[in-house]
Symmetry: C2
DNA sequence: CGAATGATTGACCCCCTTCAAAAGCGGTGG
DNA sequence: CCACCGCTTTTGAAGGGGGTCAATCATTCG
């Protein structure tokens, strides 16, 4: 226990709340979001923080954003990594209950919550898109919960790499780009950086993955084996 | 690792999918659900199983239902305990991705998914109720994820007891009824039955809780202390 | 009462954490 | 170009929290 990594870089307070992911094909939502303005963010900048008024939701246009919750003593649980196309900040409360911070340089598009909510009140189609988006997010969160609650370190890493592979585009090539630091992976999986590092090394030794240049690019050499290791 | 408790009692296949919780005040939803038929279930009966066609959603009328996911090797992660008023089985897929099993005798009301979806297509108000219900569920799942990913056994149990106290009615009296077995608590919190048992004993020894008759009724003797122990 | 199921308690062990140090990896400037 | 600095990752050694195995106790039900 105690993964404790610093949130750092408390940047100007952008907005919007809880969060959700948009599945492919949410045209109505996409249309609405196309109207928002785009913000360019440096690595480790905050998109929004817990407690901020929820004024916008954001669609990731480029880069990766970590959505997380911190405990009073600094321990941090990353809830999700949001990739291009994903939407963060959805919810029902007036304030954000989570924080969101870029993992690397990123672009996000902001859409007014007030506008979105007003539109959804009369547009059942839009409301359903929102509903499905949250269902998607819920499904992903449950998957992570199962991983963190039941799996060993090797299983967690295997599961994480496979999830990243299917989420972050590039399904064609068996390659995954680890834009995030080890500390981010650790805080997602409920492990420590040391255990993450050791476990990645172990997977490399076992021959299921290969690491490239500074450990940011991972080649999945044996995906079936990786799926076995993830155990379900 | 390896909590592994048997799902048991594979009962006649009722229906409906993913799942969600209804916040107080979802009148449209409540109205619709009032039309469904009520099923009476014994303890440990299944409401639905992973893979079942998603034909109904269920509102808990009485009792407690465990919503869970099992891994191939039998390990089990309980995602949520559903209490009266909660709705389970919401989702976007045609099949259930989770299983739901009663923890004790229970009554659930079934509502047709087809009917609900058709109604939501034209009724923006209903669609929004669904949206808010899933947001609520998402929020609860995230809270559990933080608990399982970051907290120690004592912190998990303290958090669990407090959550139960605020969820399962009875906020007036500092009393919690543990309708579920130790194995259910263990599979919710990512611990083993032995650790759950030992930790409850420890909390009792510390004087923060009291146990009654067969360990099913828990008195929260020092709630502020319990909140400290839950650490956030 | 005896069988079955669940809860508690004990003893031991292992996986992961903790603490610590070394090694990479960029960037910057002399 | 390379030395130096900050940050991250890797690796090592030691310890602990919770898991595993197993026995005892409690409760329920036939």
């Amino acid at each position: 226990m105690l993964a404790m990594q610093s949130p750092e870089l408390r940047t100007p307070p952008p907005q919007i709340s809880s969060d959700i992911r948009a599945p492919a094909g949410t045209l109505a939502l996409d249309d609405r979001l196309a109207q928002g303005t785009v913000r360019r963010l440096e690595a480790k900048e905050h998109v929004f923080c817990e407690g901020d008024p929820r004024i916008h939701v954001f669609r990731i246009e480029d880069g990766v954003v970590a959505v997380y919750k911190t405990l009073v003593d600094g321990r941090r649980q990353i809830i999700d990594f949001a990739y291009p196309g994903d939407i963060i900040g959805l919810g029902v409360l007036r304030e954000h209950v989570l924080s969101a911070q870029t993992v690397c340089k990123a672009k996000v598009r902001a859409l007014s919550v007030a506008t979105l909510e007003r539109a959804a009140e009369t547009d059942a189609n839009l409301a359903i898109k929102l509903y499905k988006a949250v269902c998607q997010e819920l499904s992903a969160t449950r998957h992570l919960l199962v991983t963190v609650g039941q799996r060993s370190a090797v299983e967690r890493l295997a599961s994480f790499l496979l999830t990243l592979h299917s989420r972050a585009g590039e399904q064609a090539r068996p390659t995954v780009n680890l834009a995030m630091r080890r500390s981010d992976i650790a805080d997602l999986l409920g492990l420590t950086i040391e255990t993450v590092s050791r476990t990645i090394t172990k997977l490399r030794t076992m021959g299921v993955i290969d690491i490239e240049q500074g450990g940011t690019t991972v080649h999945l050499r044996d995906i079936p084996r990786l799926e076995e290791l993830a155990s379900g």
